[in-house]
Amino acid sequence: MRKLKHPALLAGFLGALLGLSGCTAKIGSDGSGGGVAPGAPGGPGGLGGPGNAGGAGGPGATPSGCGSVAAGPERIHRLTPLEYTNTVRALLGNAALEPVLDADKQPIATLDGVRKWYNAADAAVPATSSWLSAYGSCKPDADAACAVTLYEAFAERAFRRPLTNDERAWLADSWAAFPPAASIALRLQTIVELVLQAPQFLYVYLDGKPSGALNVLDGYERAERLAYFLWDAPPDQALLTAASGGQLDTTAGMREQAERMLGDERAKPVLRSFLAKWLELDGATILPSLEQTPKDAKLYPGFDAVLRQSMRREIESFMDYVMFEKDGSLDALFTGRRAYVNGPLAKIYEVAGPATADDWAWVDLDPTKRAGMLTRAGFLAVHASQDVTSPIRRGVYMLKEVLCVDIPPPPANVDNSPIKVTAGEMAGGVKTVRQATLTRTGNPTCAGCHVMINELGFAFEHYDAIGRWQETEVGTGGTIDATANLSHAGDGFDGPVDGALELSGKLAKSPAVAQCATKKWFEVALRRSPVALDACSIDTIQAKVAEKSSIRELLLAMVESDAFLNVNHGE
């Protein structure tokens, strides 16, 4: 089998190829830049062409030293349920609204989804029109012209930009077609429901102004992209003012607004959510969420709903700490020991802390046992089986989610049941989970991938199935061996490590990890995976991240990137 050795930048892009090629790839960068050719005439991927150079930049879309401005094609997408909720709450001034929406995961909406938006609009819009005073001072009850003023103002805010003439005409046609017997109040209620189901509201379609092969986003479109990226919410008045004043036409203006937004409370849930998703606390395919992951009640009697919630809160608080007290430092993310704990968590971490579940305090975790997000109990509990550790789950997670290496699915006939161990020597002389894992995966078919997976997972063997430190193994009483040989894991990782602390230290300094984080934030920001045409944007972001090793800088560089400031409507 061919041994691939590729730069980590391409790890995600070439995941499928890697998958097809088996599991003998190297992780990490050799610094060559790999198969994309930044700066090549016409730009990467061939979409650019000579006429593209600088053309899509427009005001503020500064070419990032890659020769020409390029971005991968993107599709229209809908507001997520969270974005929808935040947007409707902001529009209607009602923070208590809890619309019931479809999970809505596919590109094409389901009939269920459409029905639920219909029902949500019906339930959200008040029957009286007094709430519309936020959109104008006139009294609509007997004044149709006033009603037009109000619903147009509402639609502008809902569509996140000024209305076009065609949109005004369409709204007027719809208004005129309502049954004559309906009162103005009833008509207003109905047209607001219409606006809340309109494509300009439900969908994010950033048109841009044509410039070469790309379209440059205008200020309102950039405000919309910024707001849903950093807040999961619609643009606020300051952003709209910046858009109308041309401030967002420059990268400096974009950075200024992004910095303001990152300092706002609305950014916290987005950052927390990112970390929760990155750590798969919400579950993944065949992986239950932290709230649902089953644990043996006899082995872990305290692992109840309160402890699960506490673990999630602790990780979310850790993200707040990293972002707001450590300036988003990747080093703090992977090695930080500050923890926000309550009574049950203090016991898990074996630190002095509050006595009860309701009392919380910041503490420093034991520097010999904990370092960063990967040694937090919530993460370790999700990535474990019901009763013992799971080196395979943890190793697969590390490869796929922290290093962005795609691995092929296991063979169809694989025995994927959780590894079970009992005290004493088992069949074949097996005494521990580690040994059972090696036995299960030792045949040549499995070994190609598992030589990478297992070693990464073994580094976490000191943490039991709910994240407690263990010197001897739960279930078997065997002595823990958390040493690992990462000789197959790639450049920058080669060599032995002893436990997760040492591994986390390597990860914190790894360009591959920073690149993986960039890829994941790119997907959040632009709702698509990066492609070759985004290589210049990625490179530019990487360069800035490398300088400061900071997620905060990553986010700021993201909003200045060509991919963020422009749109490629290419099919």
Partner: protein, 502 residues
Amino acid sequence: MTLKNSGRRVFLRGVGGLALGLPFLEYTHEKAWAATAGGAKRLVVVFNHGGETMCMQKSGLRAGNPKIPDYDPSLPTIDHWLPKPGGTFGIAHEIFEGTELAKKLMVVRGVDNAAALKGRYGGDHGLSNCTSLVARATGCGDGSSPAGGKCPSGDEGEIATGPSLDWVAAQRLQKSQGGSANPLALHVPGHYYGSAFFWGAKGEQRTEGETNPRTAFNTLFAGVTTGAPDPAAVLRRELKVSMLNGLMDGYKRFSGKLGQADKGIVDAHFEHLSSLEKEISGLELSAQCVVPTQPADFKDDNKQQQSAPIQAQLIVAALRCGATNVANLQIADILTPWAPSGLQLKSDYDIGHSLGHWVSALSDPANVPKWELEMKENRAWRMGLVKIIADGLNSPDFPEGGVPLLDNSLIFYSNEFSTGGIHCSTDGPYMLIGGAGGYLKTGRFVELHKARLANPASLDAGSTASTNDLYVTILNALGAADTEFGDMKFAYRKGVISELLA
């Protein structure tokens, strides 16, 4: 009585509807469509996530898995669908035997979901769900091709590549007798992998169904009363219909400026709005219609014990009122702690299907009876929902042509796996309730498994029909004359299953 839909802009329906409807013609006129055959006027599809409990067959399962062909001979070969002495229907016997419904029930087994069987290891979750009611190979939701037999995003990324039985049936019935072309879709919420219900030509058009009976009720019966319509409610309905027409106008305008890929997304949304508009404006109230009391608002998805029976009753009301010709009830893969004996064993994944997996992990023989009791009671609860629907349609208080509605209806109880614990897509057991106007011969157990015909305890493979054949039979029971369903390369019979007919 009929509710008028004033305010509608007819040009939209005429122009937009025609233009966007064309791609679906393949499915609405799949093969040799004509109204003849059976006499069922309505269909209910109950889909049971998590699989059933049958014996561990020797073959036709995960090809190449050294563990599966003989499975573990030390394990019990539990077969809940094998009729026991004195019983007719296997596990269904306990719910239906001795009731009026027993004469109208047929249990069929020995039917392969061949579209899944021919795929990866006999059918993983996504593959089985996406093929169960579709009988075609699957695709990937992100547009990629399954690489190595797997979509990049796993089970959840798999989609159907054609319409499901319920959707095709709705098109046939709408054509033959009018009414809605949309199946009513309700969902007993909880965990499941993938989805079984897909509408229209593309898998992206899947529906998971409404989980809250209150919401479903509001959509179905808003402004409808058993007596004379409430004028205020009728006005509100007219406004909604007018709004939906305005929205469709807006989507049409918006779509015009998009590229082809984006346009497809927005046009599909338009289609859904059109369906919703027709549904809301076109409710015809029949003499059978009694609008039920507005149900409680179940915002909590964990109240299935209370909400699921109401959903079943809502299906009955919707069918009696002619709000739909086809209704779906999708029952998620949930544990049922409210069953008479409660939960007997701890589950690995807190979902019902995992109980099946326990068969391979029941090292302690003492656990087997506990496991079996829990499985039986879980399934009995699901069948109890079917019984609510069947009883409602069988009520003598709502006759149709002198017989209960059930006699002119068909209830189809389906599943994703015959044996959940090993993801077995072969040898499926199904229930058909209702006479379909005398088309089907009910009151019996029909074995289509040739090896078991000779030896009821046989563990060999031997199904003689596939779901393609079964769905052709069901469509014929609805009065259609389809000769094909899904991808006929998966069909064993190439036509109706004659053993099921009267």
